[in-house]
């Protein structure tokens, strides 16, 4: 079965190409079949490949590489188009194909009214294909191809409704900001190739371990550049600004970006290049700190948003922050675990939000919604499950297991610290609060807007499946004390370094767990209390809170800062220099020659006497030159 691996990324590409070329001539049903079908077959194939791969489990650390063709082969630089399957990429593609398929399925109904139906699916397929290429890439260059492809698709899809200027703005912002990170990644690739002589990921890791001493500056620089790339794609501080705006795209796009593709690419990259990060403690610490800072910062911003999708966007930033935190403290598999559960519940939440938005005629503002619980029971219940999972409601949700693991490991890791743990815990509190603020505003309270549409089966089915997964997803890595065997962790540890516990910290795990559970539940209760007692409004009325509110609302002023420091000066420079200062030099020359012409023309005054004068003076000059020189 493994030989079919190449079909997995190829199918979405093929689907995309086909739809792009012929899509406009096809009926909608055929487009839907093609668009969702290609990803569906992908998901099926991935399942088969996974079974076949796990069949090889007997041999420890089994990987499968498939070379399709030699891409370029020059002067010792020979990355080929080849795919690499190991435990990490297998888990990734499983989640990606499954969630993507569900989102595609959902979209077949959600987008049915759109004029550019085929374009939508073409781009969605391209998105999935790029992400799969990214994950399966055997070398950094192919990874970079997928990486950029994902960026392009995010640009295309965020700006899908390009008629609105702000959608275009959001799309551009997403593309350009991530491109900044991509450039850092490219530079990292230059360093890697220059110093290690290869771009094949496996070889790079081995070579780096052999040639770069731990903590060497070059390793640190490389790791930091990779981190910069990851930060761009995964919307972490300080490049997180594009993600909230990315909500301009259709809701399934947001789901795809947030849950299955794009933003998790950074997490994947760091996990994939763990050796480099392990060589550089500083970089790893940076990863953890960025993660911790991001999850808190984004949590605050999430708490004050009005737009339901923006809340989810900030929650994504925050949850990816958890993953970074996990990576930073060396809890590699925990990060991937959280990636998986996050994919499930975030897709669920977005799709649910999409149902709500569709039902309320495109209303995004939560304050204009309310009381939809009765009107859309299925959506409500599945959304609630997703929210619970996001808030890590203990025991029953997948999110609890993954997040709890991270919080705990942030403390007990050899690289962990109390501060990281505190940030994680505080983030957990914030998560619960903004999540349930969203739930309460949307589904409870007075009915402000009637739901006009009920989701049909293509939209409902993914909700149900994802809801189940959001609950049951935790089972794959159920820790020992809950009777599980940490299956995922074990599976991943074949390719990822194992977790190192700090001596003396690994005690009282149970107590920490209970505390974390209490915090998340407490957050829910707190927000419920605040909302019910109208304290929330009162607090937000006070001027100081208002300032804080608007500060958080605008995402901590990062946008304004970048605008002031980078965007405006660049645009202004471009505007001022539209006519190109250098050109003035040449126009100056031409003006000079015109002056010269005018001056010389004055000598041509048409008088015979001045002709003779010219001769006389000329004679004087040349006789002088000839005789006295």
């Amino acid at each position: 079965m493994l030989e079919l691996l190449w079909i997995i990324p190829a199918l979405p590409f093929a689907g995309s190409l086909f739809l792009a070329l012929l899509g406009r001539k096809l009926p909608r049903r055929a487009i839907a079949c093609l668009g969702a079908g290609s990803v569906g077959i992908c998901a099926l194939l991935t399942g088969l490949v996974a079974i076949s791969f796990i069949g090889h489990t007997s041999s420890h650390s089994f990987t499968y590489t498939q070379t399709l063709w030699s891409w370029l082969d020059v002067a010792g630089f020979g990355p080929s188009v080849s795919l690499h399957l190991d435990a990490l990429s297998l888990v990734m593609i499983l989640v990606i194909t499954l969630v993507s398929f569900l989102i595609h399925l959902y979209s077949t109904e959600f987008m049915i009214g759109d004029a550019d139906y085929s374009r939508f699916f073409a781009q969605m397929n391209l998105f999935v294909g790029s992400m799969l290429t990214l994950v399966l890439a055997d070398n950094f260059l192919l990874l970079y191809l997928g990486w950029e492809g994902v960026g392009l698709c995010s640009y295309l899809l965020i700006g899908f409704w390009y008629g609105e200027p702000q959608n275009g703005y959001a799309a551009r912002k997403a593309f350009i900001v991530t491109r900044v990170g991509d450039t850092a990644l490219a530079i990292a690739l230059f360093i890697i190739f220059t110093h290690l002589g290869t771009l094949r990921i496996g070889e790079v890791m081995l070579a780096a371990r052999d040639t770069w001493p731990a903590g060497s500056p070059i390793a640190t620089v490389t790791a930091l550049l990779l981190l910069a790339g990851a930060v761009g794609k995964s919307a972490q501080l300080p490049l997180q600004t594009w993600l909230p705006d990315a909500m301009a795209g259709p809701t399934p796009v947001s789901a795809l970006i947030h849950a299955a593709t794009m933003v998790t690419a950074g997490v994947y990259l760091i996990a994939r290049t763990n050796v480099l990060f392990m060589l550089s403690p500083a970089a790893l610490t940076a990863v953890a700190v960025i993660g911790a800072a991001t999850l808190v910062v984004a949590g605050f911003s999430g708490l004050v948003q009005h737009d339901i999708k923006r809340v989810l966007a900030y929650s994504t930033i925050s949850q990816i922050g958890y993953m970074f935190l996990a990576l930073g403290v060396g809890a590699w598999s925990a990060a991937i675990f959280h990636f998986m559960t996050h994919a499930f519940f975030k897709a669920l939440l977005f799709l649910g939000a999409g149902c709500v938005i569709a039902a309320t005629d495109g209303e995004h503002d939560m304050f204009k919604m309310g009381g939809l619980r009765k009107q859309m029971p299925l959506v409500f219940w599945t959304f609630l499950i997703g929210a619970c999972s996001l808030s890590a409601v203990p025991l029953i949700t997948a999110g609890f297991y993954s997040k709890d693991l991270i919080i705990w490991k942030a403390y007990c890791s050899a690289r962990g610290s109390v501060w990281l743990w505190a940030a994680a815990i505080f983030g957990s509190l914030l998560t619960s609060m903004y999540t349930f603020r969203m739930v309460l505003l949307t589904f409870f309270g007075p009915l402000r807007k009637n739901a006009t549409k009920r989701p049909g089966w293509p939209m409902s089915l993914p909700l149900v499946v994802l809801a189940v997964l959001s609950i049951a997803g935790g089972l794959v890595d159920l820790p020992k004390n809950f009777g599980g065997g940490s299956a995922l962790t074990k599976f991943l540890t074949r390719d990822l370094p194992s977790f190192v516990t700090a001596p003396g910290r690994a005690v009282h795990q149970g107590m920490f767990g209970v505390f974390a559970a209490c915090v998340s539940l407490g957050g829910i209760l707190l927000i419920e209390l605040l909302m019910r007692s109208r304290m929330y409004e009162k607090i937000s009325e006070s001027p100081r809170a208002k300032a804080l509110h608007s500060f958080w609302f605008s995402g901590w002023g990062f946008d304004r800062l970048y605008d002031l420091v980078l965007v405006s000066p660049y645009a202004m420079l471009a505007r001022i220099n539209r006519d190109d200062v250098i050109d003035y030099f040449y126009t100056g020359l031409s003006r000079l020659s015109r002056q010269g012409w005018r001056g010389l023309c004055a000598t041509e005054n048409g008088r015979v006497r001045s002709f003779v004068l010219g001769i006389a003076l000329g004679a004087a000059i040349i006789i002088g030159l000839a005789v006295f020189l």
Binding site: C601, E604, N605, G606, R607, V608, R609, V612, A616
Partner: protein
């Protein structure tokens, strides 16, 4: 170079220069032609002096030659002056400024 030849040459140069000044300051075409004649004759004088220095007849021959050529030139020039006066009604060269720019 013998002294006397040098003196004559200087005289010729002075004459030449005077002729040149004449062409430069006079606007009337007839006077300009006169001044040019002076320049030619200055050159002729120089030739004669040079011939004297080398005690050869070449200088004198050249002088005769110059005089005859100058006559030819002046005849054409005077024809032109007539045309100028006849057609353009001017003799002032500065007034002939239809060609310029």
């Amino acid at each position: 170079m013998t002294r006397i030849v040098g003196h004559v040459l200087i005289l010729a140069a002075v004459l030449f220069f005077l002729g040149l000044i004449g062409v430069l300051v006079r606007r009337n075409i007839v006077f300009m032609l006169l001044s040019i004649e002076i320049m030619f004759n200055a050159a002729g004088l120089a030739f004669v002096a040079a011939g004297a220095r080398w005690a050869k007849p070449d200088g004198q021959i050249m002088f005769i030659f110059i005089v005859s050529m100058a006559a030819a030139e002046v005849s054409v020039a005077l024809a032109l002056v007539l045309q100028m006066h006849h057609r353009l009604k001017i003799l002032d060269t500065d007034a002939a400024k239809s060609l310029r720019g």
